[in-house]
Symmetry: D2
Amino acid sequence: MNDLAAQPLAGEPAARVLVAGANGFTGALAAKIVWDHPRLQLVAATSRSDAGKRLDALYPRYRVPVELTELDLDRVEGIDAAIVAYPHGAAAPTDAALREQGILVVDLSADFRLRDLETYERWYGEHGAPQLFGQGVYGLSELYREELREAKLVATPGCYPTASVLGLAPLAEKGLLADVSISAMQGTSGYGRSSDDLVHFSAMTENAFPYKTEGHRHRPEIEQELAALGSPAPVAFVPHLVPLDQGELATCFARLTEPTSKEAVQALYRERYAGEPFVHVLDRPPNLSALRDTNECHVYVTVEEHGGVMAFSAIDNIWKGASSQGVQNLNLMLGLDETEGLL
Amino acid sequence: MNDLAAQPLAGEPAARVLVAGANGFTGALAAKIVWDHPRLQLVAATSRSDAGKRLDALYPRYRVPVELTELDLDRVEGIDAAIVAYPHGAAAPTDAALREQGILVVDLSADFRLRDLETYERWYGEHGAPQLFGQGVYGLSELYREELREAKLVATPGCYPTASVLGLAPLAEKGLLADVSISAMQGTSGYGRSSDDLVHFSAMTENAFPYKTEGHRHRPEIEQELAALGSPAPVAFVPHLVPLDQGELATCFARLTEPTSKEAVQALYRERYAGEPFVHVLDRPPNLSALRDTNECHVYVTVEEHGGVMAFSAIDNIWKGASSQGVQNLNLMLGLDETEGLL
Amino acid sequence: MNDLAAQPLAGEPAARVLVAGANGFTGALAAKIVWDHPRLQLVAATSRSDAGKRLDALYPRYRVPVELTELDLDRVEGIDAAIVAYPHGAAAPTDAALREQGILVVDLSADFRLRDLETYERWYGEHGAPQLFGQGVYGLSELYREELREAKLVATPGCYPTASVLGLAPLAEKGLLADVSISAMQGTSGYGRSSDDLVHFSAMTENAFPYKTEGHRHRPEIEQELAALGSPAPVAFVPHLVPLDQGELATCFARLTEPTSKEAVQALYRERYAGEPFVHVLDRPPNLSALRDTNECHVYVTVEEHGGVMAFSAIDNIWKGASSQGVQNLNLMLGLDETEGLL
Amino acid sequence: MNDLAAQPLAGEPAARVLVAGANGFTGALAAKIVWDHPRLQLVAATSRSDAGKRLDALYPRYRVPVELTELDLDRVEGIDAAIVAYPHGAAAPTDAALREQGILVVDLSADFRLRDLETYERWYGEHGAPQLFGQGVYGLSELYREELREAKLVATPGCYPTASVLGLAPLAEKGLLADVSISAMQGTSGYGRSSDDLVHFSAMTENAFPYKTEGHRHRPEIEQELAALGSPAPVAFVPHLVPLDQGELATCFARLTEPTSKEAVQALYRERYAGEPFVHVLDRPPNLSALRDTNECHVYVTVEEHGGVMAFSAIDNIWKGASSQGVQNLNLMLGLDETEGLL
């Protein structure tokens, strides 16, 4: 993989990084962000089904001149950290094998997001490495920053929980939330690379629809995190697919447990996120196109006439909703500046 | 306008129809539907700003070979009914002038939708024909069918109220609704023809956003109708613009005033809409592309795990949400089969 | 298939029709057009891979309430005509089996389009029914109308040849064409339903590209037909995929073998297509959206400053470029009005 | 404009830059590129109609926190260079006024692209600064690099000429070109910000069309440059609008004045552009999405079966086709590395 010599690093790398499952949408993006990162060295990008192909042939706009190889867990050498972009279920055993070799692991799958095994099994089936269950740190960087600095295994949150929880956290922390209903929308990159009639251009153009109306597995994750923050409210959640590629919006309705003015709620948000490099509290509703290809989260909150709160939280679903948040976590784990390679 | 000779009519027309404001999106579509209608004769399509242009030059795919003329209210002759597609405020005086001449009026604007003048003035400003205020029949055909058969002046509902109220009516009628929150999305045709940076293709592609987050004037209309049906609940409502042309989805969350099973709620919907030619109760979530260019409303309802109801209601915003519903109303007013020209 | 009872027929059907391969884009559309046709009865819609599914579940907007069945060529009964929407190569043997049973066949594949077997084999490989090769009538209705009235086996042209040849025929017939270069573009429906990374919405949105730059198999078909008309010119041809669903445009450059004014060329086109129900000679360049979902071909021709001709020819690639042209051909074969079910 | 303090410069700026007309698509992008440039200081971004607004309110994704001001040519101080993004005709007098004050000028309009005044007047009308006509250097960086290093006034080429000429230059320089025909396509950003029915999302989605079929003013510019390179061939040219935002493709057909193999032509291109940082000669056809938001030009050339050449040249129309090429030129004028701020 001699092309790797060309990676533009600023001196000695802080870590040599493996991206496993680099042929999918989030893995490929993780490889690109590592490649462009001034302190991380991309040592290998792996894929079983696309081994031998070059990443810049599969994803020309990412411009990563690296050949995909097959991951052999028995011969992993010279690697400090791994970003694992495998499907749910398949990630856990690989994470376990990498951890046994002392490698820091950022998992992009759901395998370590939930803290209750029964809930995991209900939504995802049998767990692939039960001995590690509960040991991952939840990688919502803004909420678990201190834990992440010490973490060895990080579970990067789902895209919907990232948007939803950041959109509601300031209220959840104060215990102000009740009766939460979230209507979210996402582009087709969230559906993954797996080809399917549903995401054929002919099927999606001039179309939009709700899906997983009988229960989406990101709902228990949202409930877990809002409860952890202080608002153990049940959540109604439904996602929609809309005809765009990257971008996600969570539109959140909630009742406030005590009447609070719009000004007070907006001030609470501004204060809560004042020091955050990636969370921008807007004074107008967010636009998805404004944050495409960034690690940002744009939040707007208002209180409507009948006293309910409406919070809008927008991210790029494969950046902040997956790959770039994974690197934000890795920065924290390595003691780097959290924003390195992400601005 | 000798091209009009070519209109494919089935015998003697039931009414000679004027479409006023036929250069805008909803007026042009109303003209097309009247033109294709076997029992209605399109006698004139008017526009101040585009008079002299042909409708099939402005809207080639509608294929209406008619020249737009300027409306002279002093010389309206040989007209039985008018569809008025003017902006809010401008419609009322024209409606009044047409009514004085005994012409049946289907108004596509908001001027006669609300029943409370104060509410009207708050959201739309001064009314253009206060002497007629309160005399329009609300043109949600499925709910006001009998009144519409006798009506002389009809206020075709807004697109969001059409989708939302049809999506919730079976529950509202039973008084089962509480704490309604509606997140709706719509394509750019809902924004109207008026050119604007916002709907430039470059601005909308790969974009989506909420708008009117501090209050949309369709909210009081939704509240008025749910209350009229039996559920005087406050409603939280927010619309979004998504990158498609025609199509609208209302995603409605509500609390049920008494616990009801999913099966019972679904049965209630099927029963309520059993005889309706245009409302289809689906057994899966709706797709916008499935009903594009039709007068249909596709509804799906479910009860989520925590007991709340989620109702999804999809329409084509400029068809059932405006122009074709206008013709559905006109069919009723004229004693024609309600579906004439609309299937 | 008792739902078929609902098919809206006007009296006795002129033919009982089978659509084979009705799960693909062109087969499904052919089934829809037959279903809506006042004189054709849709007796069966078949598919191996999707047998048992309903067509209106796969293609909701076509509203054909028919269950797909598996085609058993040994038990084809009660069928007068078949539209075969199989891939190239697979169609010929089925066509042959149907013809042996006296069934009229409209083939939408390439299997009988070319008249030179060697050319066929070069571009498509071995032929599936060589005994029938050369016996199909080329189904460009406007050019082979008389032959089609007598035909038993019709090869519906490729979409690019349909647009290109109709765009150049008036000049080709006069022997005026030389040095033809055609740059064509098409939407993703032309790529077929087969899922593929290339037509994933995420890959196509905000993208466009030429393909088959080293030779597209529609080129020899275009050359064959231009030569048959009187202009045996070599043709340079390249197609592009653009981010839309249905629609195709052929932009044709050519040298005129004798200098001819723009007015004369435009008059020639108007005259040539004067009586044609589906070919519209415009006085301005065509728009794809104006003819979506129709059997029309919109042509505009001009002579540019240096004396070369530029002809623009637009169709809906799966309508006039495939399925509706197939029905146009079938109308001719059955002695029906050519426009029946297509206006 | 104290926010300007935040501009991330690497030491002393090489030039203090004014962007005039920064409210339009190309001006705003020029301001963004200057803002992000490590050696250029954005001193002012001006606009008459949007003065007082912030650039990051008009174009959020560019993140330039600068307030637009009105340009007062009598009080231009502390400025070394200007990028003028005015409409054709309006640019020349401003260019002249800036030049009189010794300011380097990069003009993005057509005012100094053509070398023949009569041709200019035919396509654009009266010239706004005839005393300067002929004094601008044509800013196609790859072809006029040496002249640009000395230039004081640069005419950045039109987007179609940039793509077309780069796509054909290797052949033109060898005198190999004859009978050139170019079919080009572009996204809606090429149409400019000016709102218009044509670029309403509802008009462009699922649409595509040729325009300026009777002569586009970029044709004489292409002919001028091909002739200057050594191939004074007449050119047939027609552009198309397709439903995407940024991106442009020129599909070029030509006859070769002497028979040349595909391998030889491809080798010629590779050799010609070997050292170019922004022109990439591909071994497969280009994709527009691969170069979005870059200053790159992707070229692929082949020789088709009948001996004609087909060259495909892709750019981002508002980057390499306008704003980033303007900065590339400015880098050369200032003696900076040509790629500074553009990789």
